[in-house]
Symmetry: C2
Subunit: 205 residues, 2 copies
């Protein structure tokens, strides 16, 4: 019998939105049934960070060798350091029928969108919609400058989110986690996925 392949879940969003906090909260919950894919980086470990837990810490040479070998699902360079997702772990886990969860920057998510279009892309957004609404229809005490800035930010976010399947507003960490868990649960009920399971069953696979 062919095991159903796991789901690749990509959480991303603008920097500073709280991706790391949401991810940590998700994985601190007792019933999380997806695997976290640890990123690889060439930056130095910070106080308290553990190799193989927070990141896989590598030298520049090791990282560049892996890039050449096609061993990364995505990678990017920030402030002189590489960050990336090792491909082998992701593929092995998906092949074993387990969902894999990535928490990465928007550049990396865009690379994965091209390579794995059937992955699940979740955009974590600051609660700007709600804020924007408050400011626009609110007490009329905001200066034109502040309003213009909020509109510009919202427009940028709108553009960034166009590659994603779902948008989760990070108004509160627990709400954001509830929404992400609902999205993953719902995705497993999508008719196309269930149909595939039926068909392979009927074929006696």
């Amino acid at each position: 019998m062919i095991k159903e392949r796991g789901l690749l879940i990509v959480l991303s969003g603008p920097s500073g939105v709280g991706k790391g906090t949401v991810r940590k909260e998700l994985f601190s919950q007792p019933n999380t049934n997806y695997e976290y894919s640890i990123s690889m980086t060439t930056r130095n470990p910070r106080e308290g960070e553990v190799d193989g837990v927070d990141y896989f810490f590598k030298t520049r040479e090791e990282f560049e060798t892996l890039i050449e070998q096609g061993g990364l699902l995505e990678h990017a360079e920030f402030v002189g350091n590489y960050y990336g997702t090792p491909l082998a772990y992701v593929n092995e886990t998906l092949d074993a029928g387990r969902d894999v969860f990535l928490e990465i920057e928007v550049q990396g998510a865009a690379q994965i969108r091209k390579k794995a279009p059937d992955a699940l892309f979740i955009f974590l957004a600051p609660p700007s919609l709600t804020e924007l609404k408050d400011r626009l229809v609110g007490r009329g005490t905001e200066t034109a400058d502040v309003i213009a800035k909020r509109i510009a930010t919202a427009s940028e976010e709108l553009e960034m989110m166009s590659l994603y399947d779902y948008v989760v507003e990070n108004d509160e960490v627990t709400n954001a986690c509830d929404r992400i868990n609902a999205i993953i649960k719902a995705e497993h009920c999508r008719r196309e996925r269930v149909e595939k399971r039926y068909l392979s069953m009927l074929r006696g696979e």
Copy 2:
């Protein structure tokens, strides 16, 4: 400001699968935030059934007048009685920005799919996948007849579910309800919906 239109949620599935039980459980939960659309019928009330709670009970003449006036979102006839969904309540509730939940037969769901393609269609399936798996790969004690019957049923279900967005197996009522609630929550986070909210906000609507 234009209010976002509510979501039309259609729960259907083969007869006998337990649609009514699941619906009652959903609406007995304290945090249900969608409205149940009560069906209309020409059949006689059963012991304990209340007009306007279980059904709107109508005469054949009243029902047929409503059909002629285009006042039903869907309707069908079973064993000499009409069953249908009054359109006015559904539209008013959706326009007020509230989600509407319908629990109807597959014929009715097919009619709505044509009229309201952006509705959310959930197929409640008997736990036949799991059963089928058990029987096919199980202890080899089933007769060929029993296996053939299970395969025929699964094939029929597979055909029926092709119009739906999601398939929820009714293995246990509470599990089915959890999945349905997750699907509705996820649907509200779909990028297209959030984008629309942003855009109407930016336009100052």
